[in-house]
């Protein structure tokens, strides 16, 4: 212990401890409040007298909360699969195949990252309502699962992330594969994808979080409650919370849990790719 807390590292440890407390406190607060009775929660005690695990059951079974959570899981999973299906081949083409105007197209795509998301919602909405082009699977996608997922199945950031990784794969591998008569598709599915699993997992997690977070878009296109995601449900809960602080916190904890769980298993990859992203730019 004496070695850890010498004078060199005392100040950094104090800073990190403060940061640790501030980072973790809202979670601690959420968990503690979710275990309290209504009265304890309103007076905002630090600890509950007796942990009330019933709160979770009450939230889970009331107001369709269960259904909304499952909705969110379905929406996010489908979005992740969709994004990976479009992004992996796109990233591969940008990284390893020569075609006319390749760089121009790529830079135009990157430029579109500059467009605030809120602006893209409006044209998306018009397309979803079938006013610009005729849509497959029904004339309007308002209030449907495809309306919630399909518009987000192309993600430029993910393409960019994967492209950087695919570029590093040595050319010798492709030369060898081509000698054996492999096509681009074969090379991509059998060699590139298995080699790039870490970055694909990170990209998947990233997409999942973004999809789980989606809030303005469902609010816009859902007029019925069938496909409400959990974010919209939490939002309406906040608006009419009244004295039910403990139930709101229990609901929040349930809604955050899947993300925290996923993060817990992939955190090393996640931190690594964030660090790399910053340096490469």
């Amino acid at each position: 212990m004496t070695k850890i807390f010498n004078s060199e590292t005392r100040v950094p440890y104090i800073i990190l401890t403060i940061v640790f407390i501030i980072s973790i406190y809202p979670f601690f607060y959420m968990i503690m409040t979710s275990l309290m009775t209504a009265g304890e929660a309103i007076n905002q005690y630090v600890f509950p007298r007796t942990p009330m695990l019933e709160n979770y059951l009450e939230v889970w079974t009331s107001n369709n909360f269960q259904k909304y959570t499952i909705n969110s899981i379905i929406i996010s999973s489908i979005t992740v699969v969709g994004v990976l299906i479009t992004s992996i081949p796109a990233a591969y083409s940008f990284a390893r195949i020569e075609f006319p105007f390749k760089n121009l197209i790529f830079y135009l795509l990157l430029l579109s990252l500059m467009i605030p998301e809120i602006i893209t919602l409006l044209p998306h909405l018009l397309i979803i309502r079938g006013e610009i082009i005729p849509l497959p699977f029904g004339s309007s996608w308002m209030n449907t699962l495809q309306g919630l997922t399909v518009p987000f199945m192309g993600n430029i950031f993910v393409i960019f992330l994967l492209r950087q990784y695919f570029k590093k794969i040595p050319n010798e591998l492709w030369d060898a594969a081509r000698l054996d008569g492999a096509s681009h598709f074969y090379f991509l599915t059998r060699i590139v994808v298995p080699m790039s699993m870490p970055i694909i997992v990170t990209a998947g997690l990233f997409t999942f979080i973004i999809a789980w977070n989606s809030f303005a878009w469902p609010l816009l296109i859902l007029t019925k409650e069938d496909w409400y995601p959990v974010t919209v449900s939490i939002y309406s809960f906040v608006r009419e919370v009244g004295p039910n602080f403990h139930l709101l916190m229990a609901a929040c904890l349930i809604a955050i849990a899947p993300i925290l769980l996923l993060y817990f298993f992939t955190q090393r990859l996640f931190i690594e790719s964030i660090s790399n992203f910053g340096i490469k730019e």
Binding site: I4, T9, P12, Y13, I15, L16, V19, F20, I22, S23, I24, P26, Y29, M30, T33, I42, N43, Q44, L113, M114, I115, P116, E117, I118, I119, L121, L122, L125, L126, I209, W212, N213, F215, A216, L219, L220, T231, I234, Y235, F237, V238, F245, L248, M249, C252, A255, I256, I259, L260, Y263, Q267, F270, I271, I274, S275, N276, F277, G278, I279, E281
Partner: protein, 256 residues
Amino acid sequence: MVDQGDEDYLYALIYTLYYAFFTIIFEIGLGLVIAFALYQKLAGKQFFQMILLFPYITPAVMGAAVFFLIFGKAETSFLNQFVGIFGIEPQLWLFDKRPITEVLFGVKIDGLFAGPSLALTSSIFYGIWSYTGYYAIILLAGLSIIPSDLYEAARVEGASRWQTFIKITVPLLMPIIFFLALTGFINTFQAFNSIFVMQTSSAGDTMDVVTIEIFDHFWGRVKYGYAAAEGVILFVLLNVLAISQYVIFRKKIHYD
């Protein structure tokens, strides 16, 4: 309306500017301090890195719901209990539309220098909380690629810690700080979920940043053309900001 322009939109831009400016300054400043602390050879570095990203991955709607209670107006709300320790009177936080200068110093100023309302300041706190760890991780990555022989040389020359920091670390980090400031502007100008959730009616329109204003126009009032026009202005402004940042910082990036 066309003659005099939409005042709400102008104010929305000013509030957005407050939000962007204060969050980015604190995120980068605090991020640097944290990154520097992590850069010392410490035990448990991996653990701290993991904790640091917790706020970043927390979905904004749920995070904002928690902050909505922490920054509550009741006298018993956590923050009021906390500031009570230092003898500060309970505040209304997210429910207070007075400008921050009035709350802090009791002076009434009109216009741009009045600063954000206490309600907007509270949501700025959320912005800082959720992004600082992410910035620290990126800055830490930047620190770790600075060659260590530069520090050796500085030590041989007898430079103090502070001098090394100002003369070596900061200039070499400049490209990354610039990148973070640029993406920070793009991100903060897009902040929507957390502010939308934390909005209260008693804060009036002092929390209506530009994204909320646009969303309100086409969700609440169904004025698509108007919302689209506001969106285009936002896009142009963002590009002007990005380009001017690039021009200003360009000289400082080339440190050789």
